[in-house]
Amino acid sequence: MSRAATVLRLAALALLVTFLLTPASFAPLFAPLTQYGAPPIYDQGNLLTLALAQIATVCCATAASAVVAVGLGILVTRASGAQFLPLSRTLVNIGQTFPPVAVLAIAVPLVGFGLKPTLIALFCYGLLPIFENTISGLHGCPPAVIEAASGMGMSPTQRLLGVELPLAMPLILEGIRLSLVINVGTAAIGSTVGAKGLGEVIIAGLLSNNTAFILQGGLVTGLMAILLYEAMAAVERRLFRPALIE
């Protein structure tokens, strides 16, 4: 990892935090984008609250998807669940053809408007990359390593916890990272069905033709997605630095 990239990331983080804490100080920057004296900074709610609400929604949903998807991934890679593997693969493939917006839209008739459809959509959509990566990670363990583990007398559980999961972990975490990023974006769209988040700002901008609002909502959402991605990547590098550099 280069120093320049680290500096860039920290600068982005600092910018995001400053903007969220004191949005008014950025008013002169956004003022040229507004017309007819419209407010340059979103004034119908607190940006920080909205951003935190969105992150909370995303993290809750992704955590739930991670638990379920990793569990399912483990299940279908055991001998007892192996007969479900081809089916679950196909389902994941089909699932990926459902656009996030469609998942969100379809959840509305089931549970009504508000936070719930967003959580359901994020949960469902978050399952796919994590499940897929869990399976490839567990399948990617070198057969010789598995054979050695069994041959030395590890029980199936010991093998799973001590060998297979640690080896699959980088891929699983990458899946979770992907889910997080997709979910930050989908959560913004969740505002259209009444979930609290920065989508509100973008949509307010679209409705009142206020580019400043759109840009604020968009930039903050984008920055959050990138920084979440980078933060997780940094944690992963710290955890797996020595072992898995090939």
């Binding site: 054979e147 041959g151 080896l167």
Partner: protein
């Protein structure tokens, strides 16, 4: 020690191992040799029950191995495989400590054992204990693999093509090391290979397998001089069987009394090497000395050649 009794394995309608019975001696290296698909690996894997037999029994020291949970059985039996199967996410020391940890050894004993093994396998603990497998050379990885298999002081060590991934020079060294290790720890080793030279070099007894059956199980010299089956003689090689036979006997074993001038050879060298030395030097006899250089006697061309024929 290990007695394999009428052991068979079927997958559906194919029989992979067909009613095999073998008695494996304690404190020796027994080699199972065969072409690919002969069932040799399956036979080996039935000893530690990585493959469950379809019928028949395996007894270790008189106890049926089917009588205890498979994973507990495997902790008592060392297991080393081709490509070594080291855990890429664990250090060399952690890899070696795997089975002792499973068995719940205390830290002091564990640390002492890891240090001992690293030293025995010529891996400087200060340098290698903390390294990860991908930072080692192929030969070093292979040694760690065997060290790991021996960590819990198993009485039996199973090896499945353990040197298959090594280049010839490192392989010869690894084979010599294995002979030393076997003597040092007095382990009973069962080794599977497709390489007849390796079988002859390592095995005190060799079982030749083909299509799931053991065709012959005997000392290497017997396999050469009295092959039980055309397939066995094909495997042992008709063209150079005399030379193979010579390579099974050491100069020390064949030495005859008397003094000789000219070339000198160590007692541990094979008769094949002694003959080669004689041919090269154009001499008629060679002096045999022990490890300290003290003369033991001599070898003549005629005396060597007498060992190269059946009888």
């Amino acid at each position: 020690m290990i007695s394999i009794d009428n052991l068979s394995k079927q997958y559906g309608s194919t029989t992979v191992v067909d009613r095999v019975s073998l008695d494996i001696e304690r404190n020796s290296i027994t080699v199972i040799v065969g072409t690919s698909g002969s069932g040799k690996s399956t036979l080996l894997r039935m000893i530690n029950r990585l493959v469950e037999p379809s019928s028949g029994r395996v007894l270790i020291d008189g106890n049926d191995t089917a009588g205890e949970p498979a994973h507990l059985l495997r902790r008592r039996i060392g297991y080393a495989i081709q490509g070594n199967g080291l855990f890429p996410h664990r250090t060399v020391a952690e890899n070696i400590a795997t089975v002792p940890r499973l068995l719940g050894w205390d830290d002091t004993r564990l640390r002492a054992r890891v240090l001992q093994l690293l030293t025995v396998f010529q891996l400087d603990p200060a340098e290698f204990a903390g390294k990860f497998p991908h930072q080692l050379s192929g030969g070093q990885q292979q040694r760690v693999g065997v060290a790991r298999a021996l960590a819990a002081e198993p009485a039996v060590l199973l090896m499945d093509e353990p040197f298959g991934a090594l280049d010839p020079i490192i392989r010869a060294k690894a084979q010599d090391d294995l002979l030393d290790i076997q003597r040092r720890f007095a382990t009973t080793i069962v080794l599977v290979t497709h390489d007849m030279d390796e079988a002859f070099r390592l095995g005190s007894r060799v079982a030749v397998m083909s299509r799931g059956r053991v065709l012959q199980y005997d000392r290497p010299a017997v396999l050469i001089t009295r092959p039980a089956d055309p397939f066995v003689s094909q495997m042992t090689g008709l063209a150079d069987r005399a030379m193979r036979l010579l390579s099974l006997t050491t100069a020390g074993e064949a030495v005859i009394p008397g003094a000789a001038g000219g070339p000198v050879i160590a007692a541990s060298a094979s008769l094949r090497d002694a003959l080669s030395e004689l041919v090269w030097r154009g001499a008629e006899s060679v002096a045999v000395v022990d490890a300290d250089g003290a003369p033991l006697g001599r070898l003549t061309v005629a005396a060597i050649l007498a060992h190269g024929r059946p009888g």
